[in-house]
């Protein structure tokens, strides 16, 4: 096996039992609990869930960008060699962020420094990373003309700002990309374009982790989907399976709530991350719940539920 082929087979990111909590006065916020998943090179995993479920905290934990009151445990192996969760801040800043992991920000227009041109910001990234690429060369790859680079962020359209942010994220040629709500607030054509770019980066052999609340955006880009609810992953599997035949009742509710499906909300509200129950956190909102749900279901065959839905259930709109 060639070295390349070996790298190919490795998981670019392998997360095991990732748990993040925050100590706040009189309470503990359990933002991520026991998350396990992996992303391979050339594949894209979308992490979906509603706002406040912990998905952004998960991304920030991988990048070492959590506030000081965060407690983190578990393991997140990058290319099978470096544990991101135990690496020192110096290693993360000097060797990992930008070089091994690129971050595609939520809002490119506010991510960019308003008082400097796109070129100045791109050149800074390239020189910090000691890259041999030129700004113009990198910009061209992202469909930006040289004259666009001389504009200030407020002179760029949303799509152009996104491309500048992407170019900066890619300046260090990272093997893993993390995109945190990359389509939030964009109109549909821009969502489509952003997802197409992420897909292309993935096809080039990078591993891509997309965090989004938008199932349709996830469907456009992801090979696999992980559904997060109240700090835990409740279902992980191939995107087409989860979007067509979700097995966890929460995943099924989310899929059915889309405007081109039943457009019906899941009853109730998620629990507070300061007061998570000992058993299944979805049980109070679940019509399949039973006594068994007072104990935490283990993740089995990609679903963490005592009563996973079967094919037949979907025929009845469950």
């Amino acid at each position: 096996m060639s070295v390349d082929a070996k790298l190919e087979a490795l998981e670019a990111l392998e997360v095991t039992g990732l748990t993040v909590s925050f100590a706040i006065p009189r309470a503990t916020v359990r933002a991520v609990t026991g998350a396990s998943f992996s992303v391979r090179r050339g594949r894209c995993l979308a992490l979906v869930g509603e706002s406040g479920c912990g998905k952004s905290v998960l991304a920030h934990a991988l990048l070492g960008l959590l506030p000081r009151n965060a407690r983190v445990s578990g393991r997140a192996l990058l290319d099978g060699r470096l544990d991101l969760l135990s690496a020192s801040p110096a290693v993360l800043a000097g060797k990992v962020r930008g070089r091994e992991i690129g971050l595609i920000p939520q809002s490119p227009a506010t991510h960019l420094t308003p008082v400097r041109t796109a070129r100045a910001q791109l050149e800074e990234a390239l020189s910090e990373l000691g890259s041999r690429l030129g700004a113009a060369e990198l910009a061209e790859r992202f469909g930006l003309a040289a004259r666009d680079l001389d504009r200030y962020p407020h002179e760029l359209s949303g799509g152009m700002a996104q491309r500048v942010a992407n170019a900066i994220a890619l300046a260090g040629d990272p093997g893993l990309l993390i995109a945190d709500e990359p389509t939030s607030g964009l109109d549909r054509p821009l969502v489509e374009r952003t997802m197409a770019v992420l897909r292309e980066l993935c096809e080039e052999g990078r591993a891509v982790l997309v965090i989004t609340h938008d199932l349709r955006a996830a469907a456009r880009v992801a090979d696999d989907i992980a559904v997060m609810y109240a700090s835990r992953l409740v279902e992980v599997g191939p995107a087409a399976e989860i979007l067509e035949r979700p097995r966890h009742p929460y995943a099924a509710g989310l899929v059915a709530a889309q405007p081109d499906r039943e457009f019906v909300a899941i009853p109730g509200m998620p629990p507070e991350l300061t007061a998570l129950p000992g058993g299944c956190a979805f049980a109070p909102r679940c019509r399949h719940a039973s006594e068994a749900c007072a104990t935490l279901p283990a993740m089995t065959a990609g679903v963490s539920c005592h009563h996973p839905l079967r094919e037949a259930a979907h025929a009845h709109g469950a």
Binding site: E50, G185, P189, P259, A265, G268
Partner: protein, 212 residues
């Protein structure tokens, strides 16, 4: 009917939209699509009497609007409610969710704890959540509070400017259901602004392209 005729509007004398006309009849949901940056939100601000257009006219149930913002008569101003895309910039961070929802009733001098409780329950905000401040709740929970607040003075027209763009599918379906049920109870007219055609196809009685 909420009517805008031949509106040109913008900021600092520079128009971002020109010659736009639209009608929102009571009891109907009018969808308005269009790419980001085209001026949809500016039109919503004109229709809610928050931005004086450079030219053109707005009339509310037959009454032409002659004064805008705080100078508009309260009776006209409160007839239209506007919901924004970003709830976080639409609330005072110092207030609790309960105070946020109660604010318009208090400002109008007729506080009604019963109505606040009823609307809060309808949008799904229960007990403890109402005692929190914006930084202690999620975007979805905060947008629920903004919707309850928008309904407190029983507006005749509700303008939803990308109301659910930041939210997950389930919260989106819930908030749209609350708007629909309010509309059924009161016969209010709704303008649903979104760049999501799939959502508008499901929600609106008819969808206008941009410019309308």
């Amino acid at each position: 009917m909420l009517t805008a005729r031949d509106i040109t509007a913008g900021y600092g004398g520079r128009p971002v939209l020109s010659g736009v006309s639209i009608e929102v009849p009571p009891g109907r949901t009018v969808g308005l699509g269009g790419p980001s940056g085209c001026g949809k939100s500016t039109l919503a601000r004109v229709l809610s009497l928050m931005l004086r257009p450079l030219s053109g006219g707005v009339s509310l149930d037959g009454t032409p609007v002659t004064r805008w913002r705080q100078r508009a008569p309260r009776e006209l101003r409160t007839r239209v409610a506007l919901l924004y895309q970003q709830p976080r910039v639409a609330v005072d961070p110092r207030l609790t969710l309960h105070e946020i929802v109660s604010e318009p009733l208090a400002a109008a001098g007729r506080p009604s704890p019963a109505l606040v409780a009823e609307l809060a329950a309808e949008v799904g905000l229960t007990g403890d959540l109402l005692t929190r401040r914006p930084h202690e709740v999620s975007d979805g929970q905060l947008q629920r509070a903004c919707l309850a607040r928008a309904l407190t003075l029983r507006p005749r027209y509700l303008l939803c400017d990308e109301m659910t763009t930041m939210l997950d599918a389930s919260t989106q379906a819930h908030l749209v259901a609350v708007v629909r049920s309010y509309q059924e109870r009161t016969g209010a007219g709704v303008l649903a602004i979104s760049h999501d055609q799939v959502l508008l196809d499901r929600w609106a009685d008819a969808t206008l392209p941009w410019p309308p």
